[in-house]
Symmetry: C2
Subunit: 212 residues, 2 copies
């Protein structure tokens, strides 16, 4: 159970960020114990699903009482790799890239945008908050200097593949890709796709079916 090499259901992993968030809330409110049912209400899932999810990682709760907020939070931080800070390189200093760079939600989760990169020389500058936009050619160099591990792709779709290859060559271990393109990269590179259009089109579909 405390193995560390077994694979957990993907669906379970995708819910842990939600658990993290709600537990952080309880922590701020100085609530020490919380039941699966209470969390379930707040997150919008079933309580048995929460218990099942946690059970993959051992017996984290206290029967009859609930879960110790602090303990569970530490556990989830470890599961999500949040015990270690990660630094991000945002490639593409457009509106989305800038928005991400200034997004406080990242820092709250131990993720820090350390620098931005762009090919457009008009964007090269020291931004507000000490954040710098570097020429894309300096990617590898700055990666070492600033200790970045994750490349965030906020570039146009047409150049995404090329930029991804540059990131791989620069020895980034993971890519968070906002470009609506499937990337061809070596299998040891972790790629997470983020596609805003999928969400809104799903909504549009429901809207069309419901109201026409």
């Amino acid at each position: 159970m405390a193995d560390g090499l077994i694979a957990f259901p993907k669906a379970t992993i995708s819910r842990f960020p939600l658990y993290f968030r709600v537990l952080t809330d309880y922590n701020h409110q100085d609530i020490a114990l919380v039941s699966s049912e209470e969390m379930a209400q707040k997150i919008g899932v079933t309580s048995s699903q929460i218990r099942k999810d946690f059970s993959y990682f051992g017996s984290l709760g206290i029967r009859g009482a609930g879960y110790d907020v602090t303990y569970l939070l530490d556990m989830i931080k470890e599961i999500l790799g949040m015990d270690k800070k990660r630094r991000l390189a945002v490639i593409g200093a457009g509106k989305l890239g800038m928005a991400l760079a200034g997004y406080s939600g990242l820092k709250q989760h131990g993720l820090e945008v350390a620098a931005l990169f762009d090919t457009d020389r008009r964007k090269w500058a020291q931004g507000p908050g000490g954040l710098t936009v570097f020429p894309l050619t300096e990617l590898a160099e700055q990666k070492e200097k600033l200790g970045m591990e994750i490349a965030v792709l906020t570039v146009p779709a047409v150049v995404a593949q090329t930029v991804a290859e540059l990131a791989v060559k620069s020895e980034f271990k993971a890519i968070w890709n906002f470009a609506p393109v499937r990337l061809k990269v070596p299998s040891n590179i972790i790629v997470q796709y983020e596609d805003l259009v999928v969400g809104i089109l799903t909504l549009s579909h429901h809207l069309a079916r419901k109201f026409g």
Copy 2:
């Protein structure tokens, strides 16, 4: 099969935006026919999954040949409700709200940000591209005037619920929620959650498991 009231697998619906995109590509390249296998390669799913997905909507393909790009595209547009243009109200004119307002990917899919709203009077102004930031108090009024249907919530988490209630009162039919909060709204309101942190934390988890 051509019923129109049966429910399709959620997982299927979530892939249609991908199909739409790849087909748009083929269309631009003036490719008339495409096989499920070829699409599969490009999208990163299996060809049988594509065929199964399409089969819920009837026999859209041509055996031995593939799928007619134009025909399939029209079909998908209808399925996704893209045959009708939708107008969005972005509530919260922060960085993310601004980035979304200027995001060309939306317009390409028949979705248009018609106006922004904010409580901060310093943001009230005619923005570039003729886009205006209105006081949030004018939400209901401008909704009617501009014919907006979808409220996009790019506000801080603490006020998300309040703003959602305002949107419901203003008779928005759907909410695209970027705030990391579960909204309590009447069940006839369609809510689509978009949570950027889930993606990056999932990535962080994989990173932690793979490299420590």
